[in-house]
């Protein structure tokens, strides 16, 4: 045994060492499988089982409302039906709220991530490392504290409380076409006031908790790629925008997509921060908040139905992430590994 294995040249990319005692190996594999089954597989399977425990019709009823195939026969039935309808309307509005919040938060996060990555990777300036650390800061803040700080800043007794409670903003769902009769052609029919305990606060809190996602996934890649390609494009007379759009962006597209889907998942899933700033109003519920309410009302199946939608989103996120990892690994191989092959034209 001594000496002989040294002759085997194993590199970092060599297949894993599967030697060692087979009993140990099987034990470890079994332990891992059991661990991941109990902690990941079972919980996820449970979500869908509970959601579908009363059948598919009950599942869809949770957000589409009860089907009115026959009119209610008596007052009790009528009351029950209207309660169910009201419940499903709240659930549907929570879904709409989550989609709306994500639709605002994710583009903001992409814009910020790209801006920050450009500033931090293409230039050297004093305080650069501090800036990178500050961008990451929200990840180490408890979600509840994230909500708390916005209440302290913008709540009625907050630092900017007086300003914030009188802040008037247009309701984006009330957008209306006014025509060219004078003034703006597009306007809003409804206006909201205040920030805390309104959807605006949900957006703010979500922006905070998702803050680092895109920047963090893009910065390491842009750092590794350096600035040569950008400088080359500029030397060929390209504008800054053209350089970014046609040279930088294609190089980081997978990392950008990766950060974007993680940000989306978090924007949909954030609970603690949003719960603090939403003010417990049904109209402000997002999907996770709706889950809590349904659960508190002992409507287990409905809670799990909403949860199953989020779990589905998580699964899509995971599939996309795996695909991106795979594509990124492939294009990394393409960009670097092929250097050795001197390919004369056939």
């Amino acid at each position: 045994m001594a000496g002989a294995p040294l002759l085997v040249s194993a590199s970092a990319s060599a297949p894993p060492v599967t030697r060692g005692h087979p009993v140990w190996r099987r034990l470890l594999i079994a332990g891992t499988v059991v661990f991941l089954t109990i902690f990941i597989v079972l919980p996820v399977v449970n979500v869908f089982t509970q959601a579908l425990s009363k059948g598919v019709a009950a599942y869809t009823e949770v957000f589409t409302g009860p089907a009115a195939d026959q009119p209610p026969r008596n007052l009790a039935e009528k009351r029950k039906l209207s309660t169910r309808r009201a419940q499903s309307e709240k659930t549907a509005s929570a879904i709409a709220m989550s989609v709306g919040v994500a639709a605002v938060v994710v583009p903001l996060n992409i814009l910020f991530g790209l801006m920050a990555a450009w500033a931090v990777t293409k230039f050297r300036f004093r305080g650069r490392l501090l800036l990178i650390a500050l961008i990451d800061l929200p990840f180490s803040v408890s979600p509840v504290v994230a909500g708390l700080i916005f209440v302290l800043l913008l709540g009625r007794t907050g630092l900017f409380g007086a300003w914030a409670t009188n802040f008037v903003w247009p309701d984006p769902t009330s957008i209306a076409w006014r025509g060219f009769g004078g003034g703006w052609p597009i306007g809003f029919d409804r206006f909201n006031s205040g920030i805390i305990f309104t959807p605006l606060a949900i957006v703010l809190a979500s922006v905070f908790v998702t803050f680092p996602f895109v920047a963090r996934s893009v910065i390491p890649l842009m750092q590794a790629q350096g600035t040569d390609e950008e400088v080359a494009a500029l030397s060929l007379g390209a504008s800054g925008w053209r350089t970014f759009r046609f040279v930088t962006l294609p190089n980081i597209r997978w990392a950008l997509l990766y950060g974007t889907i993680l940000c989306t998942a978090r924007a949909f899933g954030e609970f603690g921060a949003v719960s603090v700033v939403s003010g417990n109003t049904d109209a402000n519920d997002t999907m996770p908040l709706r889950i809590e309410k349904l659960w508190n009302e002992y409507d287990n199946q409905a809670a799990f139905t909403v949860a199953s939608l989020l779990a589905l989103l998580a699964m899509v996120t995971l599939v996309l992430k795996t695909l991106i990892d795979w594509r990124a690994a492939r294009s990394a191989r393409r960009d670097t590994g092929a250097t050795l092959q001197a390919g004369p034209p056939s």
Binding site: A232, S235, A238, S239, F246, P250, N251, T336, A338, P344
Partner: protein
Amino acid sequence: MSIEVRGISKSFGPTRVLKEIDLRIETGELVALLGPSGSGKTTLLRIIAGMEHADPGGGSVLFDGQDITAQGIGDRRIGFVFQHYALFKNMSVFENIAFGLRSKPWRSRPDAAQIKSKVDALLDLIQLGSLAQRYPSQLSGGQRQRVALARALAVEPRVLLLDEPFGALDATVRRELRRWLRRLHETIHVTTIFVTHDQEEALEVSDRVAVMRAGQIEQFGSPQEVYENPASPFVFQFLGHYNVFSARGQVADAPLSAGGGEGALTLVRPHDVVVSRNGNDRDAIPARVLHVGLVGPLVRVELERLDRKESIDAELTSEASKELALKPGDSVFVTSRHEHSFEDYSI
């Protein structure tokens, strides 16, 4: 397009990389910036390109007598070839070359057909017409280098700047590409500067060589001038093998820096060393043959001087060697055919 650099200095933090550089390059010249790593040659090239800015305070870069120091890189109309090519990974060879043309402001932008014919012409020039649709990762190093050149030439630059153009290639491709560059320059005749640390490359390809050391230009002249009349021991040393003959005609192989002492320093190229069987010359140094080796048409003889046990390298023609019939252990005398003496020999 002539290029003039006037009083350019550059520091990175406390390190001064360039010290008051003055350089004038005539229209159509092919000039090499030659020097060891850290001599500031790449920084100088990048300053001419506009990728680096010189320290504020008087220095300027002029193209055809026009001060362009304040111009950005995109406005200088230069073609730059990076050491590692910096080809756009996500674009095909064709798109890489067309990028500069497509980036022009719309008033001066050629239409699709013009771009196509122009890129095709460039592809012919670099002999890669059949690889237009390939991606950079599917090309060999030499092919990438040529694509990088074509991409730079597409925008009809006023000057062509190349940073260690052959640095990342293996020896054969390197030699081939260097001739190709020379021929290319003869056909397109655009003022060209390239940076290299390889003296052979600089001497073979360029019209004039600027030898740089520690942020200064030691000598600027034609390859012949620089090789035959080096301005300093550094230039002499950098351009090839050498033996150190001191002022008293003594030989030492000690590194120049250890040469110390007063008086002139005398350096001799191995091919200027004369070996004879009899010591008629008063200055001849007695030596012993250690090793005789054949290198192509030349015979390389390793000698050890008898008085100081130090070695001398000599290169003899095969005829001379046959005449002498040297073998290890023989006692001989050494003189020089041609030597270079320097008053100041700080290296």
